[in-house]
Symmetry: C2
Subunit: 505 residues, 2 copies
Amino acid sequence: MTRRTRRDRTTTVRRTRSTEAYRRLENPFEPPRVLSDDQVAHIHEQAVGFLSSDGMRVLFPEARELLAAAGAAIADDMVRLDPGLVTEALASAPDKFTIHARNPDRDLDIGGTSTNFFSVGGPPFASDAERGRRAGVMSDYVEFMKLCQSFDVIHSLAPCVEVSDVPVGLRHVETMRAQLTLTDKVPYIYARGRQHVRDCMDMISIAHGIDDEGLRERPVTWSNINTNSPLQLDVPMCMGIIDCARLNQPVIMTPFTLAGAMAPVTLAGALVLQHIEALFAITLSQVVSPGAPVVYGAFTSNVDMRSGSPAFGTPEAMKGAFASGQLARHIRLPWRSSGSSASNAVDAQGGYETMINIYGAVMGGADIVLHAAGWQEGGLTASMEKFITDVEMLQILAESMQPVAVDDAELAFDAIREVGPGGHFFGTQHTLDRFETAFYDPIVFTRANFEQWEEEGSKRTDERATDVWKRVLAEYESPSIDSAIAARLDEFVDRTTAKGGSPPD
Amino acid sequence: MTRRTRRDRTTTVRRTRSTEAYRRLENPFEPPRVLSDDQVAHIHEQAVGFLSSDGMRVLFPEARELLAAAGAAIADDMVRLDPGLVTEALASAPDKFTIHARNPDRDLDIGGTSTNFFSVGGPPFASDAERGRRAGVMSDYVEFMKLCQSFDVIHSLAPCVEVSDVPVGLRHVETMRAQLTLTDKVPYIYARGRQHVRDCMDMISIAHGIDDEGLRERPVTWSNINTNSPLQLDVPMCMGIIDCARLNQPVIMTPFTLAGAMAPVTLAGALVLQHIEALFAITLSQVVSPGAPVVYGAFTSNVDMRSGSPAFGTPEAMKGAFASGQLARHIRLPWRSSGSSASNAVDAQGGYETMINIYGAVMGGADIVLHAAGWQEGGLTASMEKFITDVEMLQILAESMQPVAVDDAELAFDAIREVGPGGHFFGTQHTLDRFETAFYDPIVFTRANFEQWEEEGSKRTDERATDVWKRVLAEYESPSIDSAIAARLDEFVDRTTAKGGSPPD
């Protein structure tokens, strides 16, 4: 292996490692602790006590009635939970479950030692270097679905970007059709009202060839519920919890506890509020359907006290994430964390901040890392260049989870003796036998030296990422889908369109 | 706290957190493991066995003689070590020690749970956005010393950039004078020959007001030795180990094991070679002076198999670092890891790669993280913008090591009740009492929203970093130094200059 020229590199056909090993990631790391066991237990007990003494405001009457029937105390729209009710809910919620995709290779194991990366979800804007920053439209959404499908390390879809050119009443069916036909990965459902959730469940049932009974038998989708922190659950969120629980589909319960704004300015205060709200939402789901899968969601970060803007990749967020993992393990539930950054550009800040969050989530043993690729501007923009650089980093972390072999062949004493003092390993048989797949091969990072990099245009990573997403989109291959199923999905969308769409609640 | 305008932000005098807490960092995290205990023990035993059966090449006769006198087997320039000799060396090397600075606030605790960040060391080029990339000169070195002095999170100096405009025979005294007068932190010594080390020891003795007896009583500097991997120790490196050990000054023993080039292409092979070479160098130091402080250095990464260039921030490096920490703990010695990146720009790749290495070093319990700020282009360039963005990240990690309090004031139930469901915490007394110092306040990262960021010129992090290093240099304050000591240091440099410098070996 001598140093190759640029021409060699482009003309040599070269094997690279398969990325199929990234499809199911087993996390080998023991999670770090920022709280003592006593502190964890104290926060949990204080949260349970607060739910009993003060409770939460619930804006949806049906949710209040369901909780009242289970023994909760209701006063106007305030609902207080007896500690026994919370304990019972935590006992019935499963500690692990599998979400089935229409391609079994894409099933998600949630809980235990598995790690799952979900793409960015929710930004109103899409961005790339060629077309700039703009309100997201269906064609952007389609491109993000294709990017998600193209990388094994993206385990589940998420609502990559808002689709502003489709009416609200049809957005959920158009995006669900795109999820189910452009990819074979697990689709998400946005809990934006009763009929929306129903439509999405129907379309997923078509894709799986099942009915409601089949849905209740196994998870095939997921939703995320953000409480209206502090201490409030609104109507569509309650509906989402209830309707998903009735069909036994998983919900991630994520309090929106930004310290200093919707939560106390102290980390312990933000954590106890997060825990109160998550426990409440989990209890509601278990009251509706004991055993329904739920995930403990954590999004505790802080606002910037100069600007009032959300801050991400902060030390407070990092400690909050490790602490949230400890709280989730205390109640034996899977834990969702996040990748995120406040940076407005695909630059060094974006790299550091996202890495702090995602590395922290991985080391901390998160079962789900939402917003793992593409999140920019504190969640306002889904960036295609950021998606690519984030995927690079996710693949690096995925590689780092692969086990290390220590046997005679790997210890390589024969090669060490063959090379001898002061030699080099480039040309040994041990190297030649392995060099093509020995190391992780980056998709956008470069190891070109400065002169070669200058000769190639001194492109920063974000500039190279533009070339990468364009190539990935050009090479995208759609997964196979039964033509009868595709036709039924089209009919469903046509029917919903013909009736003028489904209104949100 | 309502959102402030830009004018408010620049005109408001605002307290920020003191960074003094970063001066001594206690790492609260339990290090992750990528090897089983059996694998660690096996690698160690295999390395000890290889030192006995094959040994290493030693190019300095005095080193061979010292080892022979201690019982090593010599054949030509090959030296084999009996397992008992290695075991004895590991028993005499201390598991922790303190390196004393001329300002006791800057002392370094090495070993145990302390974490120490050392600046970049060794690049031939300096770089910043205003002056471009150029061969490093004394004025660059001076600026880096001022930057190192200005941030509490930089615990020790390191050879930030080569000084090409000072003759080799004087470079060590000019740079040592700069270290000792522009900063009050622990200075490094480059092991570039017998007289160079002697001159540096003399100058440090002047700064501390001690003689050789005083030097032997306590560590006041450090050096780093790279073996000539594979399996070779050259003359200046042997001299450095011997001369530092005789004066009881710490040496970091760092094999230069880039998998695929100077080490086997397999991780286990690179690790066992690293361990063989480190054990050999440690044994030499302990033979010279039992009890002399040493550090287990690890730099195992891999080359890029397309270009032959070193790669950094790779999954192989990350696993190698965690494994190195396990090997160092197995032999009860402090462990040095590194921050590094192959990127040619202060961009997203630079952020991700450096973060992988430094976060990994911190989580992995590294006692020393060398190259923690400013390293670019695989070590060819010391970048001022990279230095600033790295310091931001080091401060974030330093904050993350601060303990979390969980008491009534921090849990903030009074504030949670005062705010109530659906409210916000901006105006509560609990927030007002704490907001000025509640959160880490970034030096170069921004939380400005997109519109404000555009209005301010759409500056990427690297562009903002230029403003920061210029401001820090403008505000630099030199530490106090006794004028008699400064005069003696000047005399020393003048004397060395008058004799035409000290030749390297």
